[in-house]
């Protein structure tokens, strides 16, 4: 297994700069998820690491070797594609063994490795079938197997689960996680699905417009988003963002939003204290809003989304629509007045102009 290092990487495609001056370290054995909306350059970055698109400037090293200009074949990588990209004219066994045959691996060795990989991914009974005779989940397993069988140093996964239906996606997600734990391989996984990112990653890198906005452990990125965009992108339902004004006179920090004052004495600032009267944005996760009869703030129920194990209550709070994730079994009716509290220790505060965390 190997570490991957990207240094000041820029990628230009057809005249437009997709990735600009991006640096990233992926430690050996890490499961890094590149998370971002479509068009943020995450797939291009992955193709750049794979050598499938040319790098304009910067350097890529895999396992200590500079591979910036190397052919994909010489990078010792395995890759899984969104569309599976199985060779349609070959059987499953043929698909798995192609990379080994090309590299001139011995017959017995090929047979052994194909068998081992097939066992790992429960493909033993499908080896003689053609890709067209497989279901979506089976195809994706073969695609993963094709990357694994070569025992590469680094695995690159380009939205491998996004073509599967919800149930299969969850199942293969678990299998991927188990696989990573079992192999201890370095994996770089591209996705726009924040649940995939949260569940799979040992580290998340959130991307936007060709840049990495924030990277860190999933829990940390979730709890302390570095920008308003990261806060909105991670988590479902999305973080509530409320425009407000910082109140920093006297000792304690507070914020005025929706005509109410929220005391933020326990908020740990990441930078200097905001100035008194500075416009800010308050980010509150839906699960940190608690509805209770004796709560401080009051609003009206606007809409209720029941999810079975929980419900999302949308509250009209003086003109702001705020979502609240409630585990309560009680029923809420539209237009019903409700009281709620905000867990002030777990909110995020952003500068209104730069959208950066305060």
């Amino acid at each position: 297994m190997a570490a991957v290092t990207l240094r000041n990487l820029s990628i230009t495609l057809g005249g437009s700069t997709i990735i600009e001056d991006l640096s990233l370290e992926v430690a050996s054995g890490e499961f890094l998820v590149l998370l971002g909306p479509s068009g943020c350059g995450k797939s291009t970055l992955l193709n750049g690491i794979a050598g499938l698109c040319d790098v304009t400037s910067g350097a890529i090293t895999i396992g200590g070797t500079d591979v910036t200009g190397a052919d994909p074949a010489d990078r010792n990588i395995g890759m899984v594609f969104q569309s599976y990209a199985l060779y349609p004219t070959m059987t499953v066994a043929g698909n798995l063994s192609f990379g080994l045959r090309v590299r001139g691996v011995g017959r017995d060795e090929i047979a052994a490795r194909v068998r081992r990989t097939a066992e790992l991914l429960h493909l033993e009974t499908l080896l003689e079938r053609k890709p067209a005779e497989l279901s979506g989940g089976q195809r994706q397993r073969v695609a993963i197997g094709r990357a694994l069988v070569r025992e590469a140093q680094v695995f690159l996964l380009d939205e491998p689960l996004s073509n599967l239906d919800a149930g299969l996606r969850a199942e293969l997600r678990r299998e991927l996680k188990l696989l990573h734990r079992r192999l201890g391989a370095t994996m770089i996984h591209v996705t726009h699905d924040q649940i995939e990112a949260m569940t799979l990653a040992t580290r998340i890198a959130v991307m936007r417009d060709g840049r990495i906005l924030q990277q860190g452990a999933p829990e940390e990125v979730y709890a302390r988003p570095a920008t308003q965009f990261v806060a909105k992108f991670l988590g479902s339902p999305a973080t509530n963002v409320l425009p407000g004004v910082a109140h920093a006179e006297g000792g304690a920090l507070a914020v005025d939003a929706a005509g109410c004052r929220l005391d933020l004495a326990d908020y740990s600032l990441s930078g200097p204290r905001p100035a008194h009267g500075q416009p800010v944005v308050l980010g509150v996760r839906p699960e940190h809003i608690r509805i209770g009869d004796r709560a401080r703030f009051d609003g009206r129920v606007s809409l209720v989304e029941r999810m079975g194990n929980a419900q999302v209550v949308w509250i009209d709070w003086r003109g702001n629509l705020v979502s609240c994730l409630s585990q309560d079994a009680r029923e809420f009716k539209p237009d019903e007045p409700v009281h709620f509290d905000i867990d002030a220790t777990r909110v995020s505060l952003f500068d209104a102009a730069s959208e950066r965390r305060l």
């Binding site: 193709n47 994909p72 395995g78 890759m79 569309s83 090309v102 070569r150």
Partner: protein, 297 residues
């Protein structure tokens, strides 16, 4: 509220034979007759003895059908000086068409693959030039090509005529394969590259096995084109390798004695037989190849 989407039932309209339908069928029947009538006349004339032809009823069925003129056309009719029928031309045409087709497809597929998948520097320009070549009338290039083939000492040989056919087929063959490959998913090619497949390996093991339909289309086009060629065969093939079309012309233009209409007709049908059989045998594939986006743009 339930929104009801109702569509008029087609059953009511299906039975009625509207005047438009009658007109359409009449037109189609006329068109079919227009193309089939010459074939019918050729067929019946080739089966009639000369006396019967002289009666002038060209639409009449033969009263004493005989395959004598077919035998004559194949093995005894005079094609200029020699009188050995056109079977020699048939063999020549096969010897020209088979390698011309095989080599043209191999090179066209390779070209198309390189242009579609490998971002070669200047590929766009190369492709544009190739397309330009497809629109230049070939007569323009005959004299230069005569000089070139003469210089290479292949003028008037089988190698020479095959070379010329391959050269002239390159634009269309490349276009055909390039467009077919451009419709294949790029990720498939990327997968092969990551797996370690280099240029030729990826072509032979991944791309070529998927090329079945387009190879059939290209074969039909190339075999038919080469088989029906007259001009290049006349100029480049040399006296001993004259293709069937040139020999057919010699048969029909031989002016000694009476015109053997029945033999001429039989020789013509024999010459047209190969493309005809090819279309009947592989027509389904041809249509499928076109339908799957093989020919577009």
């Amino acid at each position: 509220m339930i929104l009801r989407l109702s569509t008029p039932t087609p059953a009511a309209r299906r039975r009625r034979l509207s005047p438009a339908r009658v007109g359409l069928y009449a037109f189609l029947a006329t068109a079919a007759a227009f193309f089939l009538l010459p074939l019918y006349i050729m067929l019946v004339t080739s089966l009639k003895p000369l006396d019967e032809i002289r009666l002038g009823n060209i639409f009449a069925l033969p009263q004493a059908a005989t395959f004598e003129s077919w035998r004559a056309a194949w093995s005894t009719v005079c094609t200029g000086v020699s009188c050995e029928g056109i079977h020699g031309g048939f063999v020549n045409s096969l010897l020209i068409a088979l390698p011309s087709t095989a080599i043209a497809i191999a090179l066209g597929a390779l070209n198309g693959y390189a242009l579609a998948f490998w971002r070669v520097r200047g590929a766009q320009l190369l492709f544009a030039l190739l397309m330009l070549g497809a629109f230049v009338p070939l007569q323009v290039m005959i004299y230069p090509l005569v000089r070139v083939t003469a210089m290479l000492h292949v003028f008037g040989t089988l190698t020479g005529i095959v070379l010329v056919h391959v050269i002239f087929s390159m634009p269309v063959m490349t276009l055909l394969f390039r467009n077919y490959y451009a419709a294949l998913p790029q990720e498939l090619f990327n997968a092969a590259r990551v797996d370690g497949g280099r240029f030729l390996r990826t072509f032979l093991h991944v791309v070529l096995p998927m090329s079945g339909p387009i190879i059939v289309v290209a074969s039909i086009m190339q075999v038919t084109g080469v088989w029906n060629d007259y001009l290049l065969g006349l100029v480049f093939a040399g006296r001993d390798q004259l293709p069937m079309t040139v020999q057919l012309n010699n048969v029909i233009n031989t002016t000694t004695g009476a015109r053997l209409y029945n033999v001429n007709m039989a020789a013509t049908i024999l010459t047209a037989l190969v493309p005809l059989v090819l279309y009947f045998a592989a027509g389904r594939w041809f249509v499928r190849g076109i339908a799957t986006g093989a020919i577009k743009g």
